[in-house]
């Protein structure tokens, strides 16, 4: 069928998904054995039944829907703002060395400052309402996205621009019809990667100051030693991230069919 010695070889899709299923089943089995077998106290590791009960209760009471909706709004607001700001700036940085010189060193400096460290400042400046949470997400993702978008733009083949020049294109036309089109798939990919980070920063922001939201509920559950809720929300956050990622990948394949197995030149 297959062998582990097949170093860096492709495997059939069926084999691939079988490995996925076996690994998942293994983790689930381990969880069941540890909890139902009574090897671990429920406070540290709740059983699947505990998590299920907590989930149904939160869903039926409407608490989950409220947390979920609130968190989605925050991510959406902060992340959309980051997209709107970072794409034009990244395009300018990638196309004009002078703008790169003015912005890049500063961003390279800021990007290594951990976002949670900004939160006290943000609370000081913007308070603790919705806007401040979006601001955390915005700062966390926009800085990275500007740099990543500019990298994507810079990687557009200089030969493409030369071709357009010899056909009589103006710089504005090259920017719009060549550089923009060529870097779109890369920019969508940058968005995909940073949406994952946006969720991370959301939880960080909610853990610190909020009265609703996925991160807030996790902290509250911790205070009440209600580990089942923590587990349920962790699974939700993981599924949400994975779902967004898959949605991005699928729409990217749909929108840019030409990127598949393009052989260059």
């Amino acid at each position: 069928m297959f062998s582990l010695s097949a170093f860096r070889q492709e495997i059939p899709p069926r084999t691939y998904w079988m490995a996925v299923a076996i690994a998942a089943a293994g983790v689930a089995l381990l969880w069941c054995v540890l909890t139902y077998g009574g090897y671990v106290t429920p406070i540290f590791l709740p059983s699947p039944t505990d998590v299920w009960n907590a989930a149904t209760e939160l869903c039926l009471s409407g608490v989950f829907a409220a947390d979920f909706g609130r968190s989605c709004c925050r991510v959406f607001g902060g992340f959309v703002a980051a997209i709107i700001v970072s794409i034009p700036i990244g395009m300018l940085m990638g196309n004009f060395r002078i703008i790169e010189a003015a912005i890049e060193p500063f961003l390279a400096f800021v990007r290594y400052m951990p976002v949670p460290a900004f939160i006290p400042l943000i609370i000081l400046y913007a308070g603790i309402d919705e806007f401040s949470k979006m601001l955390v997400i915005f700062i966390g993702t926009a800085v990275q996205m500007i740099i990543m978008v500019s990298d994507v733009v810079k990687k557009v083949a200089a030969d493409f621009c030369k071709v357009a020049l010899t056909l009589g294109a103006t710089p504005a036309e090259i920017a719009r019809k060549v550089v923009w089109r060529a870097s779109l798939p890369g920019i969508v990919d940058v968005c995909r990667i940073n949406l994952g980070w946006a969720w991370t920063y959301l939880i960080v922001a909610e853990v610190l100051a909020a009265n609703q939201g996925l991160g807030f509920r996790i902290i509250k559950a911790q205070h009440l030693l209600n580990t089942s809720i923590i587990f349920f929300y962790l699974v939700v956050i993981g599924a949400l991230g994975l779902g967004c990622d898959i949605a991005f990948r699928l729409s990217s394949a749909r929108l840019f069919p030409w990127t598949r197995e393009y052989l260059g030149a």
Binding site: A157, D159, F160, K162, V163, A164, L165, T166, L167, G168, A169, T170, E173, K177, V178, R181, A182, L184, F256, P257, W258, T259, R260, E261, Y262, L263, A265
Partner: protein, 279 residues
């Protein structure tokens, strides 16, 4: 003269001042003429093309097209590169008509219809009509280069600049492309300035071959090709062809031998031997 190149030089800043890539280039091309530049790598033949295209400015000298100095790159000088560089996000037809979507080439609705129809007829002529709505990734290397050729012709340039356009293709595809180019030039009456390091290709396609040498790049000889037109690949066995090819080889090799003998005196033998091996 359609294209005139006068006392053209190009130098680049280097560690020890300026290094001269091209020294005193003078030549002209008549309307409808096919002229090739051949020479060893590093002789600056591609640089001449890039200068004529307006992608880089000359250090001194002048390039004129129809009597007026050429400025930046424009659609009046079409260019075909060694790589097809088709835009992967556009279909073949969208690629070849890309030039028509630019402000510089804007024409009336009627003329546009004519040009679009002409693009289709050119695609037909190069055998790509069936692949009109395919993406570049679905095409072979030769097909991509044919599309690149059509793209350069659609905006009706006064002169076509070709920079080793068939250099990246396999031998058989290259011969097909040579025949195709001869056919297209005859059909369109295109003026071509062609850069290649393949002497056979230069003789087969050209009305005149300009032989270059390197360090610094200069034109050392002009060889008119008296073979009749239309040309075809079989002419490579023609005595005139064989003689012209040998003559150009001699011109190229003589220079190299002379370079080597000079080097033996100045730089010792190691570099000279290296040079001989390359030749």
């Amino acid at each position: 003269m359609l294209l005139m190149i006068e006392t053209l030089t190009k130098s680049y800043p280097s560690r020890d001042g300026q290094s001269l890539a091209l020294a005193e280039i003078n030549f002209g091309i008549e309307e409808g003429e096919f002229v090739s530049l051949v020479g060893p790598s590093g002789c600056g033949k591609s640089t001449i093309l890039t200068l004529a295209a307006g992608l880089i400015p000359p250090s001194t000298g002048r390039i004129t097209l129809d009597g007026s100095t050429v400025g930046r790159a424009g659609a009046d000088r079409g260019m075909v590169f060694q790589q097809a560089n088709l835009f992967p996000w556009l279909t073949v037809f969208e690629n070849v008509t890309f030039g028509l979507t630019l402000k510089a080439n804007r024409v009336s609705r009627n003329d546009e219809r004519v040009l679009l129809a002409q693009a289709d007829s050119l695609l037909q002529a190069v055998g790509l009509a069936v692949f009109r709505d395919h993406y570049p990734r679905q095409l072979s290397g030769g097909m991509r280069q044919r599309a690149a050729l059509v793209r350069a012709l659609v905006t009706r340039p006064r002169i076509l600049l070709m920079d080793e356009p068939f250099g990246a293709l396999d031998a058989q595809t290259r011969e097909e492309m040579q025949e195709l180019l001869m056919h297209l030039c005859r059909r369109q009456g295109t003026t071509v300035l062609f850069v290649t390091h393949d002497v056979e290709e230069a003789v087969l396609l050209s009305d005149r071959v300009l032989v270059m040498q390197a360090h610094p790049g200069t034109i050392i000889a002009e060889v008119p090709v008296s073979l009749e037109r239309p040309r075809h690949l079989d002419m490579r066995a023609d005595p005139i062809f064989v003689e012209l090819r040998a003559h150009i080889f001699d011109l190229l090799h003589h220079r190299i031998r002379k370079d080597v003998s000079q080097m033996v005196v100045s730089n010792g033998t190691a570099e000279a031997e290296n040079r001989l091996r390359q030749a």
